[in-house]
Amino acid sequence: MTASTPVAERPVKEPKRQQRFDEGTGRLAATLLSPTLLVLGVVVLFPIMAALRDSLYQSGQRLDENGFIVKGSTFVGLDNYTAIFKGETGDRFWNAFYNTTLFTVVCVVLETVLGVAMALIMHKAFKGRGIVRASILVPWAIPTVISALLWKWIFQADGIANTLIGTQVLWSTEGWQSKLSVVIADTWKTAPFIGLLVLAGLQTIPAEVYEAAKVDGANAWKTFTRITLPLVKPALLVAVLFRILDTLRIFDLPFVLVGAHKNSVESLSMLAYDEASNVRYGPAAAYATLLFLYVAVVAYLFVKILGADVIGEARAKKPGGGRRKKNGNSGTAAARAAVAAGAGPGTGGNV
């Protein structure tokens, strides 16, 4: 009798203990994660909130209704925002908004096409893989500022670009040509990077799938559109998402390549920077907040509509099936996580 009770209890206890190896660690996890979350709270969450608050205030000296000088910041409600959309500032804002969007669409499309092409070539090539991999990392490793200076030099009036194509274009003047120079410089720097990430996705596709397609008589184009693209899509989507978000905050490249206060290339980031450097924190914060909202909306729509899986394989797998959709093929899931790892923060803030 006394011996039978523990025996009867054991099967109940056993699975519990097995789970306990990893379970009940919530508090430990919280402790270990707190430094990271604290730092992110201070350098990311706090500034976002502060920007929201600052955008509702006007700082510095100004005159009140009775002609007295008011110092310090005063609450102005949504004035900073309404001012953005009015008159001359409105034109400047919409111009920057248009430039930012144009750069994002054109650059990302070009980079994706070129990147996928590069990945396909690298995947096919067996000779010279080392050289390609080394050279493809060079544009990535060059600081954006330096590459901007380099392209400024290339696009000089009597520079190599004009010599090679036999034209006399003044690239740094206002107009389509300065936009184009920014697009070219950005594409040069990041298309190889997309290629690298797509290549990682390609390498997870098993050869049997291609063999099966060959047996079924699929031609090269069909194989590409029906097999390669769908299978690298998760990796590609995340790479593209991060490139979009990166280009939306474009700053270094137009700022150094063409210069500040140039209508043709002024981006939202440059506009906000200009206001902030002139100590107009209220409007600057309003621009920054609008850009943040723009980025957030684009990211949300991208994830919702195209279903980019940003967390990918890193997602915790619950024994009873995850809350969200399960990862399908582990290979593509790995690539997804991989891309998320590299594409995102890898180029972060350096556009």
Binding site: E23, A29, P35, T36, L37, L40, V42, V43, V44, P47, I48, A51, D54, S59, I121, A125, F126, V132, S135, L137, V138, P139, I142, P143, T144, V145, I146, A148, L149, L150, W151, W153, Q156, T163, P192, F193, L196, A200, Q203, F242, V256, S269, A272, A276, Y281, A285, Y287, A288, I311, A314, R315, A334, A338, A341, G344, P345, G346, G348, G349, N350
Partner: protein, 293 residues
Amino acid sequence: MATATAQPRSDMAKVRAAETGAVKRWLPLLGVALIVIYCLAPFYWMVVSAFRRPADQFSNAPIPSPFSIQNFKDVFSGNNGFPRGLLNSLIVAGSVTILTLVIGMIAAYTLARLDFRGKNLVLAIIITTSMFPGISLVVPLLKLFVDIKWINTYQAMIVPSLSFALPLAVWNLTAFFRQMPQELEQAAMVDGCTPAQAFRKVIIPLAAPGVFTTAIITFIAAWNEFLIALSMTNKKSIQTANVIVSQFTGTTGRDQPFGSQMAAGVVVTIPLVIAVLLFQRRIVAGLTAGGVK
């Protein structure tokens, strides 16, 4: 009859096969050559321009003749503050890398090994923070740093840089820790280690390659940073190399001193390019972490 028609057809097929074989063999190589030229030609132009004499700066010859290191001498001699800028870059990027690794390693190990509620949320938060536009963080931080008199200090550049470096490092390291078999710690704990000891004595030494790769990637990201360094400083003695090079002024009025800028660009870039060439395998593995399992 049948053989007569079959003969030329098979010949043609053979010729076609040989042709497509040659195309198949040479096309990838051609593609590879194109990619290499695409990636390296602008970089080559920077190096070539740096080694020209300032007098024939505007020559478009593909090889500098005569060869000159005058541009490099100019960069390091004048009072443009470039050597100091290099040191500042090193201090800022180095501090960011070390801080990020110390803080991020703990978080990454936790995310890779512990199962707890809200893990997906934490992962989502960390990856989301890296998507925020830098300017949204810089504007309010600039105002704050003016108030607490942090402008022209190293910490004013180091602290905001954590906003992009930390998510990057945590993400990379999580992937590396996840690849290590859990049996390692279990064996260590069976041998009497506490979990903390198992982490310190078993995991860290074994994760060294991953940590090293993350360090390189983080360092490059921090070294390349521009917006924060530009916003938080206005004194040359504290600015990073990137900011200083972008603001080089020529000796002759409004002309931009491209020769010295290209030379400075080479100096700033060469350490990174060498690191990339030496550790290319690891960097590619790190950038696509998890994908090359």
